[in-house]
Amino acid sequence: MSILVNKNTRLIVQGITGNEGLFHTTQMAAYGTNVVGGVTPGKGGEWVLDGKIPVFDSVKAAKDATDANASIIFVPARFAPDAMFEAADAGIPLIICITEGVVIHDMMRVRNYLDQKGARLIGPNCPGLLTPDEAKIGIIPGNIAIKGNVGVVSRSGTLTYEVLYAMKNLGMGASTCVGIGGDPVNGTNFTDVLEMFENDPETEKVIMIGEIGGNEEEKAAEYIRTKMTKPVASFIAGQTAPPGKRMGHAGAIIEGGAGTAADKIRALEAAGVKVAKHPEEIPTLL
């Protein structure tokens, strides 16, 4: 077991013939991920990876032909909202958007539409998911993680790699690693993923990597305190960051002044979470 993705995931890649799309499709396929097709409008009928993966003009055509159950998006930011709408409309239940820089207004529309369609979105601006030895869906380098029983969830990209790498160096493996992305409006939050790990028999411990801003870490702390039985260790990035640029009065009114590293660490420690001083220390706390 694992969460969200495994060897049965049938993946299509939106933007498969682009630079990033093709590079990472190659990496994902080499890892053993079951990439069943790709989408680039206007390039339907072509093949990539030496004729192994068919390209379609639309997500619907790709889904009809391949019975895909997940889609990963590698298209530029201005086209990413359309790609997410299209995937949801085609009935793809799990959508992963790697793209960075999506307009927040677009994301609010996407998220509300996807909720109506019952599609789960991971990201945007995220590194994707990795279930070691089964499926790499995204851009997390496959060789930095080994299979194990620690669930990893993170808002950051490269900081997640640091932690997976530090775990591997200590012989500690991951059940699944989920990068939920750093954007203010995203598809899946910490609490969603913590709940999945709590219910996953293969996950025995959890590492949560947060950062300053927003209040998702505080909400996750509340979930851990009241509902979680598995031990959690954490790191919060931005402890020395200068105070962020303020958003008029509205930001303070909405978020009630929360969101500093100190606030988050306090909330997590009060929930029994061990918080590391630097990322390479996290695995030693479990």
Binding site: E20, H24, R78, I98, G101, V102, V103, I104, H105, M107, M108, R109, R111, N112, Y113, P127, I139, P141, I144, S154, S156, G157, T158, L159, T160, Y161, E162, Y165, A166, G182, P184, V185, E211, I212, G214, N215, E216, F235, A237, G238, Q239, T240, A241, P242, K245, R246, M247, G248, H249, A250, G251, A252, I253, I254, E255, G256, G257, K277, H278, P279
Partner: protein
């Protein structure tokens, strides 16, 4: 991107929100002229991109054009929270009966826009929100549906707005929604929205922030950016799509990913050093971007050592290494450099840098310690 008050109010006005008559001025002489044209008492308001202008003495009432000139001279010579005042807005003075707070912003938790209003508007609104949250009305807007007029009426009722002003208020609410929507704003705030003594609603002050990611489709707004208040290095960084914030320390940092960049700063501090900047080269950074980043870091004379921490995912370490080599060729840096490359194409990257005379590190903690030691000489 933040907009000035005068820019925000001009946009409000285009969407049918009433604002006071007025004009921006860059000299005291111009301010006097505007006051003469307006006739009657005016308010001289410093235009700087920080809050608390009034409390800092940057907003003053002038009874006549002569006084307007004198106060404008004073305010144009001021610094507010370290920012020099380069422009003032000269607005006709309003006879105020009541101040309302009114805004739309992104509600991250709800994943929807939220309209916020309070009958207790004015400069102390945050204190009101903290101490008497029941006085703050919040209504989420379905982004697929847009603001509906009934929602605006619900707000009018909730803040005890006189019935005679409801129609006007609804029009302002719909206008503010259009402003927010059409400009890809992350904030459109009127504080205060006043009821004047002759019972009219006027947006006395305005503040807007625009989503930087949306500027590709907001060309007119992008041109409004006031770069006077940005450090030159920050302007240069923006040109290359780099996320850069100058800090006071002496260890330059180049990292890929915002989370890891902040963490690298945290770890430098943890081992007794002081970061000179935050710099995220972004995902998929190529050689050209890396070279620009390096020039920007080395343009800071405080920098005594540079830490490169690259964990390749979408970014390829060999590309980064090529950028470092290109920049070293061009800038000929004299400070020690600590480099750590891990992840996608890291071996190729390390091979490229073999002869570049750099200090290498395996772990982040190790890299930070080496950079701290190098900065101390």
């Amino acid at each position: 991107m933040k907009l000035h008050e005068y820019q925000s109010k001009n946009i409000f006005s285009k969407f049918g929100i009433p604002i006071p008559k007025g004009c921006v001025a860059t000299t005291a002489q111009e301010a006097k002229q505007v006051a003469e044209e307006l006739g009657g008492p005016v308010v001289i308001k410093s235009q700087v991109l920080v809050g608390g202008r009034g409390k800092a003495g940057g907003v003053k009432l002038a009874k006549n054009p002569a006084e307007a000139e004198q106060l404008a001279t004073q305010i144009l010579g001021m610094e507010i929270k370290g920012l020099p005042v380069r422009k003032v807005l000269v607005d006709e003075a309003s006879a105020i009966d009541k101040e309302i707070y009114f805004s739309i912003t992104d509600d991250r938790a709800a994943k929807k826009p939220v309209m916020i209003a309070s009958a207790a508007g004015g400069v102390d609104i945050e204190e009101v929100a903290a101490k008497t949250p029941e006085k703050i009305i919040k209504v989420n807007i379905d982004p697929l549906l847009g603001l509906r007029e009934y929602q605006a009426r619900d707000i009018a009722l909730a803040i005890d707005l006189p019935r005679e002003n409801w129609k006007e208020f609804t029009k302002i609410a719909m206008g503010l929604w259009q402003v927010y929507q059409n400009t890809d704003a992350s904030l459109a705030e009127i504080n205060p929205l006043v009821i004047t003594q002759d019972k009219k609603l006027v947006a006395l002050d305005g503040k807007m922030m625009i989503d930087d990611n949306a500027l590709f489709r907001q060309a007119d707004l992008a041109e409004m950016r006031d770069t006077d208040e940005d450090a030159p290095a920050e302007i240069e960084a923006r040109k290359y799509g780099l996320s850069f914030i100058k800090l006071d320390g002496n260890i330059g940092c180049m990292v890929n990913g915002a989370g890891l960049a902040m963490t690298s700063m945290d770890v430098i501090k943890l081992f007794g050093g002081d970061p000179a900047n935050f710099l995220d080269v972004g995902g998929g950074a190529g050689a050209e971007k890396v070279a620009a980043a390096m020039r920007i870091i080395l343009s800071d004379p405080n920098v005594k050592a540079v830490l490169f921490n690259i964990f390749g995912g979408i970014t390829r370490c060999d590309e980064v290494a090529r950028g470092i080599l290109a920049a070293m060729d061009e800038v000929k840096p004299k400070v020690p450099m600590v480099v750590r490359l891990v992840g996608t194409n890291a071996e190729e990257g390390r091979r490229l840098l073999e002869n570049a005379n750099m200090i290498t590190a395996e772990t982040l903690a190790d890299a930070a310690k080496k950079a701290v030691a190098a900065a101390k000489g």
